[in-house]
């Protein structure tokens, strides 16, 4: 299997002179019925792919905004099983790849073989599991080996060079470059080391590199998009969707367009 669907979506976007824009949404925030509406809106608004977050009882890598969205979704009784089923119900209308972001334990309960078997039927072509570092990824990689589903790894600012290279070598889909030392959430600034970090990462990687964590303004999208192949925007999108501010979402996505790579 090529596991290229997510990669291709990003590369096509880059070839057209745009940076990839991957919004993160919390599935079930506002009820499970909002999932279809939000995904179709984001597709229409120009998202390259969509990261679909699964609520969890103990989200250790998330900041307040996504934790609260997760708690709202949990209160609606939303689970990974229900989300997979709902996604499958409108799969035909979704033309861009979906990527699921979930902590490991719900996946273990779902069953590694079962999730591998069900992803494609739900339009899911990537999995991001923040508490599954490279060392522990073997089991799930095995389960996914005959599918088109990429297991997407995160790289952090604190990763030493050898580790970045090991992760880049094993990368599928894209590399999720964590742009801050910390958890998800809005930030006003990024460190100066970031530029060099993203350059090294791009040089080491055969798949695109997307920057994520803390990106919340059109200016962030332009700056960080310029250093990477695209951006992932989480908390700012979650907040805007929760408040029904679709215009803000559109403005953020627009900031990723017409960014000719001049590097």
């Amino acid at each position: 299997m090529t596991k290229k669907l997510v990669t291709q979506a990003i590369m096509q976007c880059n070839e057209q002179g745009n940076k990839a824009f991957v919004p993160y949404i919390m599935a079930g925030d506002g009820g499970l019925q909002t999932l279809k509406k939000n995904i179709l809106f984001l597709q229409e608004a120009g998202a390259t792919a969509i990261e679909v977050g699964i609520p969890f009882s103990d989200p250790v890598a998330d900041g307040d905004v996504i934790q609260q969205a997760g708690e709202r979704a949990l209160a609606e009784g939303v689970t990974l099983r229900k989300i997979m089923k709902e996604l499958a119900s409108f799969k035909e209308e979704v033309k861009i790849p979906l990527v699921i972001m979930t902590y490991l334990n719900p996946v273990l309960s779902y069953g590694l073989q079962s999730i591998a078997a069900d992803c494609e039927a739900s339009g899911v072509y990537g999995l991001i599991i923040p508490d599954l570092p490279l060392e522990e990824s073997g089991l799930l990689k095995d389960a996914l080996k005959d599918t088109e589903v990429a297991l997407i790894q995160l790289v952090s600012l604190t990763s030493p060079t050898e580790r970045i290279e090991a992760i880049a070598k094993a990368a599928e889909g894209f590399i999720y470059a964590v742009t801050v030392n910390g958890i998800t959430g809005v930030r006003s600034s990024f460190t100066e080391e970031l530029e060099g970090h993203l350059e090294r990462l791009k040089a080491a990687s055969s798949v695109p590199v997307l920057a994520g964590f803390g990106i919340s303004t059109p200016e962030h999208v332009r700056t960080l998009g310029g250093l990477a192949d695209g951006v992932i925007v989480g908390s700012a999108i979650v907040t805007a969707l929760h408040e029904g501010d679709y215009e803000k979402v559109q403005t953020l996505i627009n900031a990723s367009k017409n960014q000719l790579t001049n590097s």
Partner: protein, 396 residues
């Protein structure tokens, strides 16, 4: 570099953590390996354990408790006599020295009952480290005085009102804080839990309990005990006590989980009894969870056992049936608090009382020439309000 999975106990353990802390874990592993090889490190730790903590702790023959049970001879390993009132200081001090060695000036910790928080605040005051402790809102209510103790020791206590507001949520917040401050901060995890190398480090620093016990029982009785009993929340006092005996097949080991209101009520903290495997806080363990993999709240009258999983090495020892794990209810633990107070003049922590209750039942079934050791992991001062409320009033 190696990207093999590390820190496995059978199928349990591992390193299921965000990428941001993988580097910190590797740094900790290296620093710990170097410290283990450095005689100056163990010399310094031994010095503080003796002169500051007051080790070694006695192994006390509980004559009247033995008579009460009417079976095997019962010994108490008096971890309650440690400075700060529980075994927790053994680990806090060891890890605080490790933090200094790594050049980290700040420490973060979680606490349930407050014992680990107080121990860590104490070690940080002693060694001049800055300390912040995350504690669940519910636990702050239950253990008000421990919050004040930590503050008096110069530690910042942060209330966690997310989730159930107990230990697991405090660990989540401590992990989030660590991820964001990893460059100058060491995380002193309080139990034999979490990602590798924490379960190993905590076990090694608590192993002093079992090492002393082994030597002391031979001094008293000229032989090893027939049974050793310890309570299990995350399992740090138990793993420290058990570890030196694991290869002695004739020494039976018993871990006592908190059955809360009773296993059948669903309101308990007995993760091994539940037999559900999963990942929480960086390790593959037995975990209390629902069918969708959401972690469930644990329930116990003792805040220190109120955690929905059990450390990975215990899970493995359960799996290979080297240790027998059983559980004791809130009510039974309360009985044991009263019993030990009256017959021995020792008020045990509610956590330790679980082990006391179980050991008394066990001793009854054993012969008079047999020996049972109880790890009396902590003293009951912190629980006086809880016990008084549970017993229904002002006087008994």
């Amino acid at each position: 570099m190696t990207t093999e999975t590390k820190g496995r106990y059978g199928k349990f353990g591992g390193q299921f953590v965000p990428e941001t802390i993988m580097t910190a874990l590797q740094e900790l592993e290296t620093a710990y390996e170097e410290a283990q090889l450095d005689p100056a490190f163990s010399k310094e730790l031994d010095y503080y354990l003796k002169e500051f903590v007051g080790r070694e702790t006695p192994l006390f023959f509980a004559e009247r408790l033995t008579k009460h049970a009417g079976g095997a001879k019962i010994y108490l390993k008096r971890e309650d006599l440690n400075h700060t009132g529980a075994h927790k200081i053994n680990n806090s001090l060891g890890q605080a020295l490790l933090a200094l060695r790594m050049g980290k000036k700040k420490v973060v910790a979680e606490t349930g009952a407050g014992q680990h928080g107080v121990a860590t605040a104490t070690a940080c005051a002693l060694l001049g480290l800055e300390c912040v402790v995350f504690m669940g809102k519910e636990d702050i209510r239950r253990q008000e005085l421990n919050v004040f103790r930590m503050e008096l020791l110069g530690t910042k206590v942060v209330s966690v009102d997310k989730g159930s507001g107990t230990l697991k949520d405090a660990v989540n917040e401590a992990l989030r804080y660590w991820v964001s401050n990893v460059e100058d901060t060491h995380y002193i995890l309080g139990s034999a839990l979490g990602p590798h190398p924490f379960p190993q480090i905590v076990r090694d620093f608590q192993r002093v309990i079992g090492d002393e016990t082994r030597r002391q029982i031979v001094e008293h009785e000229g032989r090893l005990p027939n049974a050793v009993v310890a309570c299990i929340g995350g399992g740090s006092n138990a793993i420290g006590m058990f570890h030196p005996f694991v290869d002695d097949q004739d020494v039976k080991l018993y871990g006592v989980e908190a059955a809360g209101s009773g296993i059948s009520t669903g309101k308990h903290a007995a993760a091994i009894a539940g037999k559900q495997e999963g990942v929480l806080h960086g390790a593959y363990m037995y975990v209390l969870q629902d069918d969708d993999g959401f972690i469930q709240e644990a329930h116990s009258i003792s805040a220190g056992l109120d955690y929905p999983a059990v450390g990975p090495e215990h899970c493995h020892l359960a799996d290979i049936q080297r240790v027998q794990y059983d559980s004791v209810t809130d009510q039974q633990a309360l009985e044991a608090v009263q019993l030990l107070s009256r017959v021995e003049g020792i008020i045990p922590a509610l956590e330790s009382a679980h082990a006391v209750y179980y050991a008394v039942q066990l001793a009854k079934e054993m012969k008079e020439d047999q020996l049972v050791v109880i790890c009396l992991s902590g003293r009951g001062d912190k629980d006086m309000q809880t016990v008084r409320d549970a017993l229904g009033g002002q006087s008994i």
